[in-house]
């Protein structure tokens, strides 16, 4: 089955200059391999196309079942120069929650936000 990332992981964005880091943290260790396999730096960059203008690096923290994406050119030139209402990109981490991940149906009962599952 295909589900939105929000059922598998939670995310947070942080800012440094013109770079945003967006962490993607699996709710359960058993979800992590599907994130690691499918949410590549390339797909992440394609998902944020037009908004993230520079390269995206992905760091893996297996011990915490988490991925950390470092997106360059994500903050309109930097927090103070940005013309975006959300200068710090604090809301950027919400966008990736809509990324679709293919998982085995057997995981369905373990997913978060059951009431919001399609």
């Amino acid at each position: 089955m295909k589900v939105k990332l929000q059922h598998l992981a939670h995310t947070r964005s942080g800012d440094k200059g013109n770079t945003s880091n967006i962490s993607v943290i699996a709710y359960e260790p058993e979800f992590y391999p599907y994130l690691k396999d499918q949410l590549t730096a390339e797909r992440f960059q394609a998902y944020y196309a037009g908004t993230v203008t520079g390269p995206v690096l992905r760091y893996e923290v297996d011990g915490l079942a988490a991925l950390n994406f470092v997106a360059h050119g994500a903050l309109g030139g930097g927090v103070s120069r940005s013309l975006c209402l959300d200068n710090y990109g604090k809301s950027l981490s919400a966008a990736i929650l809509g990324f679709e991940v293919e998982i085995p149906d057997t995981l369905r009962p373990r997913l978060r936000g059951q009431a919001l599952l399609a």
Binding site: G17, N21, L64, V79, R81, L83, L85, L92, R112, L116
Partner: protein
């Protein structure tokens, strides 16, 4: 200190505008050995410099210093809690004197307050640095627009102040995690070159430095991540052991949560390579971190690693870079988007007619694409309400003012059913861009000054 008990360190603020009540609560009920305040963002020092130039009465330290100290000093004095704070901004001595004023106000005499100076290197930044990290150009290219340059100091000057008897230490720019680690170095006798211990300590400092962001703030997502009473967060408290492991918790009865999710989110917050988080004191390795929920709102943190510190310190260089003009107006009801689109077209033509000289112009539809920008889905249902948000970045204030003036024109010369705010607020602001560079560690010598109440 009796080392059979863990060292209790509390966070008192995570930024300049943070709430004050949770800090008071921690001071009153947190049984703290140390209460630590972080009150700066990247551009805080530069903004303070600009303000000081224009407003001679601006004292140059945290504008909420009075609120914070008036609130926490009674509890801290009663418990014997020491305070470490970067509220000094561009005037740590002035902040220390003001704290002495509040100490006397509360009848506390003979309390030693230390100020840490030495982070401001504006007058010699061009001789100490070579290259701008963000673009590889020489730092000398920033000469015409330079406002302020400050080095991120580490924990060592704070440690020195505490060892010389200071009960309150107030600093200028210091790396955020160092503020929280300094007490561990003093109380546990950690050496400044013991990178294993300092890695653990700085990692804990990183978890604490954003305050409520580890106790349930910047976290709630209804239906997925819910926390109790999200209107009443407690600030974090670390119960630290001499080996650098700790339990993170908060004052009981407060809202929010300390759990594996809140801690993991904060662990990676503003981190790039999790194996190499560079601070003035040590390079932290978060990849070996072990987390365990050991009770309600209690997470045990261990295993954070450290590598030897780098030979350089980071310098933050603030520069004036022009102005931003911005404003917004509104549409609602059937056809709101069509009217917003016509308004956008009108503004684009108007900016041509008045020859707006801008480096970048953005006209967004708030409700559709103003936050996530170009990546926003193209096939969204039309919203019932929409705001047209206009912003331009310009070299001069005169150009930036044109944005608001043209939005004014939309009131009687615009589209039907245009909702507009009364233009009483200032719709321009000055940009202080922040660049980074590196300075050899040995070229920066922090200095201490002591005051007594």
């Amino acid at each position: 200190m009796n080392l059979k008990q863990p060292l209790r360190i509390g966070a008192g603020s995570a930024w300049w505008g943070d709430r004050v009540e949770p800090a008071i609560l921690s001071a009153e009920q947190g049984d703290l050995d140390y209460l630590c305040f972080e009150t700066m963002a990247e551009a805080t020092i530069s903004a303070a410099q600009v303000r000081a130039r224009r407003d001679p009465s601006f004292p140059g330290y945290d504008t909420y210093l009075d609120d914070r100290m008036r609130g926490v000093l009674p509890g801290c004095l009663r418990r014997g809690t020491k305070i470490i704070s970067n509220q000094g901004w561009i005037n740590p001595d002035g902040a220390a004197e003001r704290i002495v004023h509040w100490l006397r106000h509360f009848g506390a005499r003979g309390v030693k307050v230390a100020s840490v100076n030495g982070s401001l290197i504006t007058d010699r930044v061009l001789e100490l640095t070579d290259t701008i990290l963000e673009n590889g150009r020489p730092t000398s290219t920033l000469t015409p627009s330079l406002v302020s340059a400050e080095v991120y100091l580490g924990a060592e000057p704070i440690v020195a102040a505490l060892k010389q008897g200071a009960q309150i230490v107030v600093t200028g720019r210091v790396a955020d995690p160092s503020i929280f680690m300094a007490p561990m170095m003093v109380e546990f006798g950690w050496d400044a070159l013991d990178h294993a211990k300092l890695g653990a300590g700085n990692g804990l400092g990183h978890l604490m430095e954003c305050g409520a962001q580890v106790t349930g703030g910047y976290f709630s997502d209804p239906g997925f991540k819910d926390v109790p009473d999200p209107w009443n967060f407690g600030f974090p408290i670390a119960e630290v052991q001499p080996d650098g492991s700790a339990v993170l918790t908060k004052v009981s009865g407060t809202g929010g949560a300390v759990n594996l999710q809140t801690v993991k989110e904060q662990l990676l917050y503003e981190v790039h390579d999790p194996a190499n988080y560079i601070t003035p004191d040590v390079v932290v390795d978060f990849t070996t971190t072990r987390l365990e929920q050991v009770g309600p709102d209690r997470v045990h943190v261990s295993g954070i690693g450290g590598k030897p510190r780098t030979p350089t310190l980071k310098v933050s260089i603030g520069c004036t870079e022009g102005f931003i003009g911005e404003d917004m107006f509104f549409y609602a009801g059937p056809g709101a988007l069509r009217r917003a689109q016509l308004a956008k077209r009108i503004l684009e033509e108007r900016f041509r007619i008045v020859k707006l000289d801008a480096e970048e112009v953005r006209i967004d539809f708030l409700g559709l694409n103003a936050i996530h920008g170009a990546m926003s889905p193209k096939d969204q249902p039309e919203p019932y309400e929409i705001a047209v948000r206009v912003a331009a970045r310009t070299k001069t204030r005169e150009e930036a003012i044109k944005v608001g003036r043209e939005v004014d024109g939309m009131a009687v010369s615009g589209v039907g059913h245009t909702g507009k705010r009364v233009p009483h607020q200032d719709r321009t602001r000055e940009i202080i861009g922040v660049w980074s560079s590196l300075v050899p560690r040995e070229r920066v010598q922090p200095s201490l000054k002591f005051f007594e109440s």
